[in-house]
Amino acid sequence: MAACSIEDVLAKAEQDEAEKLKSITVQKELDLEFDIGNLVAYDKNRIDIRQFREQKKDDFLRSLARDNTQLLINEIWKHPTERVEEVIVVKLPEPTTALPREKPPPKPRPPTKWEEFAKLKGIQKKKKTNLVWDDVAKNELHRLRNIARAQKIKVPGVGLTPTAQQSTTDLSRAVNVAKVSTASAGKFQDRLPKEKAPRNTGKKRKFQPVIGNFSSEKQRQLDLLKVMDSKKPRLDVNKAVNKQMREDDREESAAKFRKGGKKGRKGGHFSGKGGGGKGKGGGKGKGGGGKGRAGGKGQGPPGGKKGAGKR
């Protein structure tokens, strides 16, 4: 009994082993079609009906599935593998089966208001180019260049050469240049009643930089001061005259003192502002000098009292 059971067990074990080690090769009449990208295998083999009926249905289907899976996996292993973090991974190719749409296709967007309007009016899109071939201007420019070269003068600036279409700025510039091109540089050219004076003609004012060369700036200022000093007259007329007058005063007073007091007091002519006293500082500087002196000399001792009081 035990022997039988042992044999049975062994046999069973062998069978199990055999099943496990079933060959990986599978025989099929028709080869399977594979779409490895979608991990799909199409089996177009006929199913044997008799075999299907003989076996248990379950087992038949299971073995069929097993065979096909084996073939599929064989096919997968044919593709290049790589190792990603201790796992062997197969790089799948692109799927070949066209899968149907998941969502419905997009509807065409409705035309905008402008598009509708344009269609209604028949307006088409026009592209404008920046540059236009200007035959006339080119000719003109070349002609003037030739003339300039021949006569060795310079070509006139923009706006002065005649072109087909001139902008307002060009025209205004041409007008201004023409106005200045007279014998007296436009000084006597009248303007039209509503014409405005041209602004921004000429060069822009240029100033020295804020932080320039300090020493040169200093030098320039000192030179300027020197020039200013030199222009001042060395002899200050006022000063000279006043000095002279002061000298005269001192002389007069000294002379008067020497002559004595009493005589001076008796006489007392006071001839107004100009000769006031002994011609001291008569009036304003310029005219006063001569007048004062003359007055003073004429007066002499008289009028001494007042003068003395002043001092």
Binding site: Q208, V210, F214, K218, L224
Partner: protein, 195 residues
């Protein structure tokens, strides 16, 4: 901010030389540093080189003033001195007029200096000479509306004037009487660099 052109420098120097004569070169050429004149918004500023270099970091619209304002150029390019220049003109002034304490206040409020208020005066002051007025304590004075004064009668003449109330120093009015006092309130966004 820009340096002055030659014409502008000349006009300014002529005005300054009325008060300090040839001492302008002491302002231009200083032993203790490079100082220069710069024009900003028609006003002339006297700045040291270091301050100038700092001031260039401030944009034109935001810069209110730099250094010391000496004066400004009017629309007809005449130069008007401002009282802020007094600190620099007073030590170099050639002709000075000292005012008695009684007359001091009167002068500060804009009246002319009369002969009765005259303390001292430098010798040889010519007629119409630009002078700087001092108090008896040697403090330079300046009145509003007009910072600087000139002498309408020369020193020599004034000695012999009969009346004590003769006007001796006429204030050189340079602004209309309706202009605000010199401490301007500025309405620009503030960023001023001052020594």
């Amino acid at each position: 901010m820009r340096p002055l052109t030659d014409d502008e420098t000349k006009t300014m120097f002529e005005k300054l030389s009325k008060y300090i004569g040839e001492n302008i070169k002491h302002l231009v050429d200083r032993p203790d540093g490079t100082y220069c004149f710069r024009l900003h918004n028609d006003r002339v500023y006297y700045i040291s080189e270091t301050i100038l270099k700092l001031a260039t970091n401030i944009s034109r619209g935001k810069l209110v003033s730099v250094g010391t304002c000496f004066g400004k150029f009017t629309k007809t390019i005449k130069f008007r001195l401002h009282i802020t220049a007094l600190d620099f003109l007073a030590p170099y002034a050639k002709f000075k007029v000292w005012v008695k304490p009684g007359q001091e206040q009167s002068f500060l409020y804009g009246n002319h200096v009369l002969k009765s208020g005259l303390g001292r005066i430098t010798e040889n002051t010519n007629q119409y000479q630009g002078v700087v007025v001092y108090s008896m304590a040697d403090v330079p004075l300046v009145s509003w509306p007009s910072p600087f004064t000139y002498c309408p009668l020369s020193n020599q003449i004034s000695q012999h004037i009969a009346l004590p109330l003769h006007i001796l120093s006429i204030i050189q009015s340079n602004q209309s009487t309706y202009s605000p006092p010199p401490s301007h309130t500025v309405h620009y966004p503030i960023k001023s660099v001052n020594i």
